[in-house]
């Protein structure tokens, strides 16, 4: 079969056809070197770990729950989810193709030895502190001027040294949470979800699983059974969170799945901006990541959730990489509430992720800004759902997909206006850019309108980089790779503008890195 449309045709045979005779071996090797060098977060931290027994069973679930000393209701919640999960089938509708996952081949719990005892940052082993420092995330508060290094020159001049509180999750446990005390003075609860279960059980019980129920989908149900750690945030009524909050997820241990659970609640008229970053070492086997993120915004509250996802994407032959199956959903429960998702997706071998908004409160607003860059053999199927239930609800979707190498990048989105959503509005724009002739860009929008007074607009284009633009930049003496990065950054400007400044700088750098080696 020749290599043309359809997922089944993206197979190994197709690759062999593509590698023609006469291709300079040096060029191939140089590209390979570039790819490996590109991923600066691919190092492994050598530290003694505690594991749950390999595989998944009721015992694994009980083991995780016992390790965290959880109350009975939570153990029951997990076990119910596990039993249901056994009856479910892995979804196949996404445009991604990967070998069948053996769920018994993973560790569902991995934590640095003695991690439960870390009372303060001084007890966290130096290896872990070094790991985060190397990733640009200093965990000692004294060192934290800007949460992300490298942004200082531009961001600091623009703002007055903003600080970011960080929750650092290392495999299955949270190892440190900074600025907790200072946040507490403002009434903001910021801690790992394992701690919140003990310290604020009523809040956790009230909101956990109310946005993404344990029955939601195959991966969310798996997460409900085995979730390990994640972040819990509660911003009380009328409080504007005094600093940016962030969680940095690091997968380190071999053959480990990470199943974090994040729950953010913004009470009436509260505001919080939350950032999330993720990296993992370069390993030859695929690692599993199935997270659930739930956001709840009450009357007049606003949550801004930004993600820079840079999980190890696997090598250029598609070996290794993270399988990223994530359920993220925000519930605009209150009137005039707002939830804004911004994501920069450059990593993961497989991405299956649709951060969504349920616009339940009247006049609530949902936003989704996304840049997804795929390279090598990556496959991304990502997008959003905007469910308009309340009156005069508004949503905006800006999605930019960039495909390079032999990757596939799919935008999949749903805009649904229900019968009671009087005067709902949506604007969707999704653009795709193809770099090279071996990649694919796909757009799968669903638009369901049940209101005559709703106004829904969708437009999308697929183009390649304009040769004129490239020539213009090149003739100014800018190298080809840098020129492409420049043009692509222009193309995704709208999305980057929505990121908190520190992350925007970081994301620009990431984007440049991700596109190196794509041209020429």
């Amino acid at each position: 079969m020749d290599c043309c449309g359809g997922m089944d045709e993206h197979d190994a045979t197709c690759t062999e056809v593509k590698v023609k005779d006469g291709v300079d071996a040096g060029t191939v090797a140089a590209a390979k070197r570039l790819e490996s060098e590109n991923y600066s977060a691919g190092f492994i931290t050598d530290i003694e770990m505690d594991f749950a027994p390999k595989g998944l069973s009721e015992d694994t679930v009980r083991f995780i729950s016992a390790r965290k000393g959880e109350p009975d209701w939570l153990l029951e919640y997990r076990l119910d989810a596990y039993r249901r999960w056994l009856t479910m089938e892995e979804p196949v509708w996404a445009r991604v193709n990967y070998p069948k996952i053996d769920y018994q081949a993973y560790y569902y719990y991995a934590a640095p030895k003695d991690s439960a005892k870390y009372k303060s940052i001084d007890e966290v082993p130096q290896e872990i502190l070094d790991t985060y420092a190397k990733l640009g995330i200093p965990l000692r508060e004294a060192e934290v001027l800007l949460g992300v290094e490298g942004a200082a020159e531009t961001a600091a001049t623009a703002r007055e040294k903003p600080r970011i509180a960080v929750d650092a999750v290392f495999d299955s446990v949270s190892v440190a949470t900074t600025f907790r005390e200072e946040l507490k003075k403002a009434g903001v609860i910021f801690m790992s979800i394992s701690e919140a279960v003990h310290e604020y059980p009523e809040l956790v019980k009230k909101y956990l699983g109310t946005v993404v129920p344990a029955t939601d989908n195959f991966f969310a149900t798996l997460n409900a059974a085995v979730f390990s750690d994640g972040t819990f945030v509660y911003v009380p009524k009328g409080v504007r969170c005094p600093m940016e909050l962030s969680t940095y997820f690091r997968m380190n241990a071999e053959s480990t799945g990470q199943f974090e659970r994040t729950l953010i609640i913004a009470d009436e008229a509260a505001y919080v901006s939350y950032l999330e970053g993720c990296t993992a070492p370069m390993r030859d086997e695929n690692q599993l990541h199935a997270a659930v993120v739930e956001l709840v915004a009450l009357d007049d509250a606003e949550i801004k959730y930004s993600t820079v996802q840079n999980w190890w994407p696997g090598d250029e032959n598609g070996k290794g990489g993270i399988y990223n199956f994530v359920t993220k959903r925000g519930d605009c429960r209150g009137a005039r509430s707002k939830i804004s998702w911004t994501q920069v997706e450059t990593g993961s071998a497989i991405t299956w992720k649709y951060p969504s908004c349920i616009l339940r409160g009247d006049d609530s607003v949902g936003e989704f800004y996304s840049i997804a860059v795929t390279n090598g053999r990556q496959q991304a199927d990502t997008g959003t759902k905007m469910i308009h239930l309340g009156k005069r609800t508004k949503s905006r979707i800006i999605s930019k997909g960039i495909s390079a190498g032999k990757s596939d990048n799919t935008y999949r989105g749903l805009v649904s206006v229900h019968k009671k959503a009087e005067g709902a509005r949506n604007f969707t724009q999704c653009d795709s850019l193809l770099i090279g002739d071996k990649c694919g860009a796909h757009t799968v929008p669903y638009i369901e309108n049940r209101r005559a007074d709703a106004q829904l607009e969708h437009e999308a284009t697929t183009t390649k980089l304009s040769e004129d633009q490239l020539f213009y930049v090149r003739q100014r003496g800018i190298g080809e790779e840098q020129a492409v990065a420049l043009l692509v950054n222009g193309f995704v400007r709208e999305v980057l503008q929505e990121l908190p400044m520190e992350f925007a700088v970081e994301a620009q750098k990431l984007l440049e890195v991700s596109l190196e080696g794509s041209v020429g």
């Binding site: 799968v444 638009i447 309108n449 005559a452 007074d453 709703a454 999308a460 697929t462």
Partner: protein, 401 residues
């Protein structure tokens, strides 16, 4: 054999069992069996099938009794144009056909390409013989087809072959009369051939209709398709077009108007299987309270062969009253980098300012709404040539009865 096929169908409905019985009564034929099997793997498709999630034939096709609704009149009928008539009781053609047209009716079944993607097309092929029409005339040929008549099930199939450089103007009126009708119409356009296809569809509120077309185009071939659909209990007009050779062009326009209890589905799938082919697609819709409009469009641009594709897809729908529903999925699958592919989709109410402007000139609301809606859909009917006026008249009658 029918027992085995019944086993393929999962939890068959009464209607599906009737279809199996109908099939079992036909002459045994290996090709027929393959076609029916292609249908049986899906059965009557319903909301659990991704391609049919908004057009649920499984629920819609209930008892297969001949409906009482009198069939609609035929606005495309024209004196002097040879008319082919399809009804549940058979096929009739005039004895004299235009010069350069050869018609063959075959009782045995002919194979079709891609039957697995079009379960209702495969069903139509399995339950009927084939009418084959070859066009080799130098002058443009005009033909008219009517699908109409009382009955429980109406299955029909016709295949056209347009020889190089020929031109066919074909109009189709799908007027209903049967509880469930499935028609399969195939066109093969050889190099430089031109096709102008106009479709008028109007089913009864108790009828279910599936009209499937497969179009294949060789180098430099060109097709222009114009649809005016009023829907039925559930109706779907599906066009699957393949650009097989360089420089092929297609225009796929449609307008749908769905009133209370009517469901109109326009589905297209275009494969740019050769370099430098062009597709222009425009679908306009208007829906009243209790009606549902569905648009599904897909451009597939394969790697290498799809380079220099130039394609655009537009769907604009008006929800004229509360209670109307419009569902759309304008999809792109692109595996080649040197292409231009665009799609746009809008849905909403009529512009209030425009309505106000007309009303303050003393035009009543219903009429003002009709004028603006007619203007909205008019663009999609422009390609119908000699039939444009007839289609616009039907549309305005519906809008302001």
């Amino acid at each position: 054999m029918s027992t085995a096929l019944r086993d393929i169908l999962r939890n068959p409905t009464v209607a599906e069992l009737e279809l199996v019985a109908r099939y079992a009564g036909l002459k045994v034929d290996a090709r027929r069996e393959r076609l029916f099997e292609a249908f049986a793997l899906t059965g009557l498709p319903g909301r659990r099938d991704e391609n049919w999630r908004w057009s649920d034939f499984k629920s819609a096709v209930t008892a297969l009794d001949a409906p009482k609704t009198p069939p609609a009149h035929d606005p495309l009928a024209r004196g002097g144009v040879a008319t082919l008539r399809f009804s549940p009781s058979g096929f009739a053609a005039p004895s004299a056909l235009p010069a350069g047209v050869r018609l063959v009716t075959r009782e045995d079944v002919q194979a079709m390409g891609g039957a697995e993607d079009v379960p209702l097309g495969a069903l139509a092929a399995a339950l009927s013989g084939t009418v084959q029409v070859e066009v080799s005339a130098e002058a443009p040929v005009h033909l008219h087809m009517v699908f109409q008549g009382p009955g429980a099930i109406h299955a029909a199939r016709i295949a056209f072959l347009l020889r190089p450089g020929t031109e066919l103007h074909v109009s189709e009126s799908h007027l209903g009369g049967a509880a469930f009708s499935a028609a399969l119409i195939e066109f093969t356009l050889q190099a430089g051939a031109r096709l102008n296809r106009t479709i008028y569809q109007r089913g009864g509120a108790g009828e279910v209709q599936a009209i499937t077309a497969l179009i294949e185009q060789d180098a430099g071939a060109e097709s222009v398709q114009t649809v005016l659909a009023f829907g039925a209990k559930v109706s779907r007009i599906e066009t699957r077009l393949v650009h097989r050779e360089t420089g092929s062009k297609a225009t796929l326009n449609a307008a749908y108007l769905a009133g209370k209890g009517f469901h109109a589905d326009i589905t297209t799938h275009v494969r740019h299987g050769a370099p430098a082919c062009t597709t222009r697609q425009q679908t306009k819709g208007a829906v009243l309270d209790g009606g549902r409009g569905v648009f599904r469009g897909k451009f597939l641009v394969p790697r290498t062969s799809g380079q220099q594709t130039d394609a655009s897809m537009q769907h604009n729908a008006l929800l004229l009253e509360e209670g109307a529903e419009v569902f759309a999925k304008p999809e792109l699958e692109i595996l080649a980098d040197d292409v231009q592919c665009a799609h746009g989709n809008t849905s909403g109410a009529l512009d209030g300012t425009q309505l106000f402007y007309l009303r303050q000139r003393g035009i009543p609301l219903v009429q003002a709404r009709a004028m603006l809606t007619e203007a909205h859909i008019a663009q999609a009917l422009e390609g119908a040539g000699e039939h444009e006026d007839a289609l616009r008249t039907e549309a305005s009658r519906w809008l302001a009865p």
